[in-house]
């Protein structure tokens, strides 16, 4: 069931109402049953079986690891649990891609053999809860967390419906204890939760899906475009994917908040990052914290005698894994490797960068910060080309045609004040030949940047809004509701991250 569907608009209040009326000791059971029903609504029976298998394997291994004193057996149990989870994820998500590439390789080597292509399977949510399971086993093995003995609470930790499909990827120490707390109705949590859900829906249905019309038209047929349409499509995609994914997370966190459950923040104004490393501390935070703690740091320590080159190897492997996690496709692998290259270069140039800013007397100035944000944003947008393009050939085409026609356009813009007439000729006819639509897109981008700036300066966008005068707040509520009803695309357009 998608968060932007009518079913969810009925599901959530029904579950909340029953939750409120239930005796405290059975509330975890209601949430667990609701979560399983939520997953069952996808009407893919093997997904429910997959979730149950992951829960049982991880629960069992966690307890066995904790009960075992012998270090070698603990390590063995840890790897059995982790590899079982990886095999489940690998089978559902990567088998088809692996067979396709092996067949390509056989063909390249002129080998007269090929493997039967397996069908593409649906794996919504699996990437997220398998990673959560691995983080649980790692924390139990490293003795930074206790194994959860209550099967019901553990199952709920894995399957809690607000975070089941697209995260956040929660640590057991952050989430499980919340299910044990006695529930008391809190008006502020209910109010904030509702606002977060509404805001998330607005970002997804109004901003992301509207921008997606233009982006899909261009990236769906890139060879018909060159220059400005490609540039605009890339910028719009940067905003679309943020609005889409952060919108989902807002709905997830808002829904959880109504049950007095706090889920980890997953975005902190990512497009105000001052470096690529800073971007990864702000974008899909729970995934990158997972990669940092369970992949990068162990690798970096393992390669520590190689000094900077050890860190570079650790970064390349970690970001490659990040690309693979996002999808069984070559463009995602290239995207991950591009970020690995960005971060690896920064290992070597950061000391020179500090000296450069000090020499120019720009250290810790607003100018330095703005420059860093500008450069970082464009490095990220360049990487989004890899992420959005459906094939490597399309990636190459977009990169080599971004500049086409730009000089002529700028020349005629300087010579001729009717620049918008030129803009029209360079734009996709069905959307951007209208000043109103173009203005609409700029407003969408402005709203997203405003949200990020408020988050950066005030710490919490929703608390900032809720502290405003009643008239201002209710104006915003009405605008949100009217926008969603009138401008929101239908729920036929899935969330982008459902593909991961």
């Amino acid at each position: 069931m998608a968060f932007d569907s009518y079913k969810y608009l009925l599901f959530l209040p029904v579950v909340l109402s029953i939750f409120y009326c239930m005796p405290d000791r059975f509330r975890w059971l209601l949430l667990l049953l609701a979560s399983l029903c939520f997953y069952a609504f996808l009407q893919v029976p093997y997904l429910l079986l997959t979730l149950c298998a992951v829960i049982m394997i991880t629960y069992g291994c966690g307890i066995l690891i904790e009960n075992t004193k012998a270090q070698k057996i603990r390590r063995l149990l840890f790897w059995i649990g982790v590899l079982s989870n990886i095999l489940i994820l690998g089978y559902l998500k990567y088998l088809s891609f692996l067979i396709f590439n092996l067949n390509d390789l056989f063909s390249l080597l002129s080998l007269n053999t090929s493997l039967t292509q397996s069908p593409d399977l649906i794996f919504v949510g699996v990437s997220f809860y398998v990673f959560q399971a691995i983080s649980y086993l790692s924390d139990v093995y490293l003795e930074v967390a206790m194994a959860e003995r209550h099967f019901g609470y553990f199952a709920l930790y894995m399957s809690f419906f607000p975070k089941l499909l697209l995260g956040p990827i929660e640590r057991c120490a952050d989430l499980i204890h919340q299910f044990r707390k006695k529930y008391e109705f809190k008006y502020d949590n209910m109010r904030t939760g509702l606002l977060m859900c509404a805001w998330g829906l607005f970002k997804k249905l109004v901003i992301a899906d509207q921008l997606g019309v233009y982006v899909d038209s261009v990236y769906g047929d890139v060879h018909s475009y060159a220059g400005l349409p490609l540039i605009f499509a890339t910028y719009f995609y940067a905003i679309q994917i943020y609005a889409d994914f952060s919108g989902y997370i807002d709905i997830a966190r808002g829904s959880a908040k109504m049950f007095n459950i706090h889920l980890t923040e997953n975005f902190k104004s990512p497009y105000l990052a001052t470096s690529i490393a800073d971007f990864w501390r702000r974008w899909h935070i729970t995934l990158y914290r997972w990669l940092l703690d369970y992949v990068f740091k162990p690798l970096q320590m393992k390669f520590r005698t190689m000094k900077n080159w050890g860190t570079v190897c650790a970064l390349l492997i970690t970001l490659l894994l990040s690309g693979i996690w996002h999808g069984a496709a070559r463009n995602f692998i290239l995207w991950g490797m591009l970020f690995g290259a960005y971060l690896s270069c920064s290992v070597f140039y950061r000391q020179f960068q500090r000296k450069m800013y000090a020499t120019l007397s720009l250290e810790n100035t607003r100018t330095q910060r703005l420059f860093q944000i500008f450069v970082t944003f464009h490095l990220i947008c360049f990487a989004w080309i890899f992420f959005r393009s459906p094939s490597c050939e399309n990636i190459f085409y977009v990169i080599t045609h971004l500049h086409t026609g730009i000089m002529q356009f700028l020349g005629s813009a300087i010579a001729n004040i009717t620049v918008f007439h030129n803009l029209k000729q360079l734009m996709l006819p069905i959307t951007l030949n209208s000043p109103k639509i173009f203005l609409g897109y700029l407003i969408c981008i402005g709203i997203i940047m405003f949200e990020q700036i408020v988050r950066e300066k005030r710490g919490n966008f929703f608390l900032w809004l809720l502290a405003k005068p009643k008239s201002f707040r209710w104006s915003i509520y009405v605008v949100l509701l009217v926008s969603i009803i009138n401008l929101g695309k239908t729920s036929d357009i899935p969330f982008v991250y459902f593909d991961f």
Partner: protein, 79 residues
């Protein structure tokens, strides 16, 4: 010189700051420049200076300087 003083010297050399004074509660948030890159340099310097080798598990479960001092004491009891 005890372990804490010797460790303090290592911190001062790695972070190029003679004013650093560590205590058992010190974490990365308390030392300017202590990030994941400099953390590796610090660990290598500690292993070299104390002639010890940490296991992966020990390195991944260090929470603060106090934990680091305890591990050094366990691994080099004659210091």
């Amino acid at each position: 010189m005890d372990i804490r003083d010797r460790l303090n010297n290592v911190f001062q050399e790695v972070f190029k700051d003679d004013n650093i004074q560590i205590n058992p509660e010190t974490t990365a948030d308390d030392v300017d420049g202590w990030d994941s890159f400099s953390h590796v340099i610090l660990i290598v310097a500690v292993e070299t200076r104390f002639n010890i080798k940490f296991t992966q598990k020990e390195l991944l479960t260090l929470k603060n300087v106090g934990d680091l001092i305890k591990r050094i004491e366990q691994k080099s009891p004659n210091v």
